[in-house]
């Protein structure tokens, strides 16, 4: 019998589907030179390479966080049936073990060794004292925090830096060897290519970004073993852990929404532009109607209704995670319904234009069927629009999640997300003294993700839009 029980949440399944589609696309692109061309252009731009590396790092965290399972309970009731813990974990949770397993009592500041609130402490002699108690885990190895902490932080930083240096040089070496093998040149020549930036791909930018990520990861790992680098929240959970877990939520909203809406936008947009006449009228009517409802209100109405449904049918969901996951999926679907109209309109316009082209007219004259014309001639020629709009929409969707969670119609309150963190931070900001770190952590991670997505989408548009040349 397996030592754990695999859990495939709905969004996990869709994520794997999405990755499979991406894989299929990559396989196709590699076999066709004309499809490869725009990607080559993209890989020559420095901001494109740097933002792609950062996005990939986020995706890696998100994918690791999507491999879910449930561990068996330690105390098994006698019998054949094994009972599993109601807590759904992911591979990512295992990798960052200490972050998850070291809760404090309540708020503590970043790198703090004491709680943020005074408590009554029992002294050995039976006397009592109002003071800030020591943390259970943060800086617990220090005997005298006030005197030793600065030295300990410096030593830990050095340790992390040393690891980063080793890993960074390892990455450089791997790149040089790979390049030498691929270009069939000596490693020495490959090294000088990389070092002097003489290759068409900006390897120095690539290595610089990878190096920064490695440095951040090594420092975070070194410090997280001893401190809470972004502090802890109200119930003592590590804020750094929460913000890392939020990455998956943000990525899911940004990508699954597009995956859900894409079939509708493609089908309806192309049909409207290709068949014209009453088909066009009907489709235009549908998207004008949907478009005329203010997006937030439609989302709010739909999520309210889902809430009512889930409250009346609580027996359908066996774990809290499954419940939160359904809500996330539904949010993606409803965001998709409100956002497909833009892409649909673009596709309709482009298809109208393509329909007038000679190659489509010729195909029609030869008696090629509608389906074949759409599949062979229209679809490949609108794919660049699809790609550009997928990438462009991503950052907006990540930002939308925060706003929706604030309004109360976003992801489930039990799910870790930047929106929920910001929402909670509102009350914390009013405290005296102020609790600022969960807001800061959400800000930093969201900003880095959205900024790299914005930079990347700009480069994608430059590379793929024929008008941009």
């Amino acid at each position: 019998m397996m030592p754990f029980k695999l859990v495939l949440l709905w969004t996990d399944g869709l994520l794997w589907l999405l990755l499979a589609l991406v894989g299929l696309y990559v396989w196709r692109v590699r076999r066709h030179e004309h499809l490869l061309q725009p990607w080559r252009r993209l890989s020559r731009s420095r901001s494109g390479v740097a933002s792609a590396v950062i996005l990939l790092a986020f995706v890696a965290v998100g994918v690791l966080d999507s491999l879910h399972f449930r561990l068996p309970l330690e105390k098994q009731a006698g019998g054949v049936v094994r009972h599993y813990s109601p807590e759904v974990l992911s591979v990512f949770d295992l990798l960052v073990g200490p972050l998850r397993k070291q809760p404090e009592k309540t708020y503590s500041a970043p790198f703090a060794t004491q709680l943020y609130a005074k408590e009554t402490i029992e002294l050995p002699g039976g006397r009592q004292l109002r003071d800030y108690p020591r943390l259970k885990y943060g800086g617990a190895h220090l005997a005298d925090p006030a005197g030793e902490q600065a030295g300990d932080i410096a030593a830990t930083a050095l340790e992390g830096g040393a690891w980063a240096l080793v890993a960074g040089w390892g990455a450089t070496l791997a790149l040089v060897l790979w390049l030498a093998r691929r270009r069939r040149i000596s490693p020495g020549a490959a090294w000088s290519l990389v070092r002097h930036g003489r290759d068409e791909i900006p390897w120095r930018t690539f290595l610089g970004t990878v190096g920064m990520l490695i440095l951040f990861a090594c420092l975070a790992a070194a410090f997280s073993a001893k401190y809470h680098i972004f502090g802890t929240d109200k119930v003592g959970q590590d804020v750094f852990y929460l913000t890392l877990k939020s990455i998956r939520t943000g990525l899911m909203i940004g990508t699954l929404t597009t995956l859900v809406m894409l079939p509708f936008a493609l089908l309806l947009g192309i049909m409207a532009g290709y068949f014209r006449g009453w088909v066009d009228d009907v489709i235009q009517y549908v998207y004008t109607t949907l478009n005329s409802i203010p997006g937030v209100l439609l989302i709010a109405a739909a999520v309210l209704i889902l809430q009512v449904y889930m409250d009346s049918n609580q027996e359908l969901f066996d774990t809290v995670a499954a419940r939160a996951d359904i809500r996330l999926l539904f949010l993606c679907i409803i965001l998709g319904i409100t956002s497909w109209t833009g892409l649909c309109r673009l596709l309709r316009g482009e298809t109208l234009k393509l329909g007038e082209m000679e190659f489509v007219q010729a195909a029609t004259a030869f008696g090629v069927g509608h389906f074949r014309i759409i599949a062979r001639h229209i679809l490949p020629n609108v794919m660049h629009i699809v790609l550009i709009s997928i990438v462009l929409d991503f950052s907006g969707l990540v930002l939308a999640e925060a706003v929706l969670s604030y309004v109360g119609v976003g992801v489930d309150p039990t799910m870790q997300s930047w929106g929920n963190m910001i929402n909670g931070a509102r009350l914390e900001m009013a405290r005296e003294p102020m609790v600022w770190w969960s807001l800061a952590a959400a800000f930093v991670f969201m900003f880095v993700l959205v900024l790299s997505a914005n930079l990347f989408s700009d480069r994608v548009r430059d590379a793929f839009d024929p008008r941009m040349k």
Binding site: Y285, V286, T288, T289, N291, S292, I293, P294, V296, L297, L298, A300, A301, A302, L304, I305, Q307, V308, Y309, D311, S312, S395, L399, A402, V403, Y406, V407, G408, V409, W418, I422, A425, R426, M429, L439, F443, M446, F447, V450, L451, N454, L455, D458
Partner: protein, 325 residues
């Protein structure tokens, strides 16, 4: 022109009917009045009598679309669909689930909304176009590059952070304005300054970058080269030629939102405690008051369609070649 407007208004009817049917389906078919009653009265331990009473007080106990027991025209009129959905066409929004008159609430609450949204829109437009013009003037220099980088960075920050940061900096640290609240008459000014400033700043990133692309697209046209060849100064070219010709794309994005300004902003109104329609909607969502949400959905769609028609009219004002027929 009149003919065109009449036709456009007639086109609006099927769209509003669609919106109406959609919201009706969402609020009464997918989600039955029984469910709503249960949410309001608590999930567990609700007696059927309490549900029936709740529904009766709000008129949700009628048949959905067809009342077979009534006589004559009442067969269609004495139903939830007629009472709650068809009446909205006459802007009769009825009462909220708490029993308040929604039309009255909307009339009193739209003014605070406008006091914030209108200045944000007008000042924002001016500021964004000015920045975009500056970037277009210094195009392909480091100033332009720095401007674009700044814009991308600014648009990567969630609007929530602008509000939280602004409240903290201006109100809490510097004590320049009250953190939140609202007052009538001239006293409103001190409450309005901060939300407006933050609204404008939050929109600069995306706005100026968008206008910059429009200006740059225009700046490569032939008539611009001709104007320069005539010896016009760069400023005269930008303001006299490029700005004028860029009016159509600018209006396309700007005019359609003007009517929607009445609805206010959900986020900033609730952060700043402004008793406008935005916070009204948020409160309704949090209290699960479906009657108000339904009314706001309908109102929003009407205003959007008005915005589309206004956009068409505005085209004829800036471009004499466009005639609406």
């Amino acid at each position: 022109m009149i003919n065109y407007l009449i036709r456009r208004l007639l086109y609006a009817i099927p769209i509003l009917v669609g919106v109406n049917l959609l919201t009706f389906a969402l609020f009464f078919v997918v989600n039955t009045p029984d469910n709503m009653a249960r949410i309001h009265l608590g999930i567990k331990h609700v007696t059927p009598d309490a549900i029936a009473k709740w529904k009766h007080e709000r008129g949700y106990d009628k048949p959905l679309m067809w009342n077979a027991t009534a006589a004559g025209a009442q067969k269609a009129a004495d139903t939830i669909f007629f009472e709650k959905s068809v009446r909205m066409f006459a802007f009769d929004f009825g009462r909220s689930d708490e029993g308040r008159n929604i039309s009255y609430d909307i009339q009193t609450r739209m003014w605070p909304s406008l006091a914030i949204a209108l200045p944000v829109f007008a000042i924002g437009l001016l500021v964004n176009i000015t920045f975009a013009m500056l970037m277009a003037f210094f195009r392909a220099t480091y100033i332009d590059f720095a401007g674009v980088v700044l814009c991308v960075a600014m648009m990567s920050i969630s609007g929530l952070f602008y509000i939280i940061g602004g409240q903290y900096l201006i109100s809490k640290l510097l004590h320049l304005t009250p953190i939140s609240g609202f007052d009538g008459g001239l006293n409103a000014f001190k409450f309005v300054v901060l939300p407006v400033t933050i609204g404008v700043i939050g929109g600069i990133g995306a706005g100026s970058r968008w206008y910059r692309t429009i200006f740059l697209e225009e700046a490569t046209r032939d008539y611009v080269r001709t104007a320069r060849a005539k010896g016009l100064s760069e400023l005269a070219v930008l303001f006299g030629h490029v700005l004028k010709n860029a009016m159509i794309p600018i209006l396309t994005g700007a005019v359609v939102v003007i009517p929607l300004l009445f609805m206010g902003s959900l986020i900033s109104e609730s952060f700043f405690g402004i008793p406008g329609l935005g916070s009204y909607t948020i409160d309704a969502i949090n209290a699960q008051d479906f009657a108000i949400v339904r009314a706001m959905v309908f109102l929003g769609s009407v205003l959007y369609i008005v915005g589309l028609i206004l956009t068409d009219i505005s085209y004829t004002l800036v471009d004499p070649r466009i005639r609406l027929e």
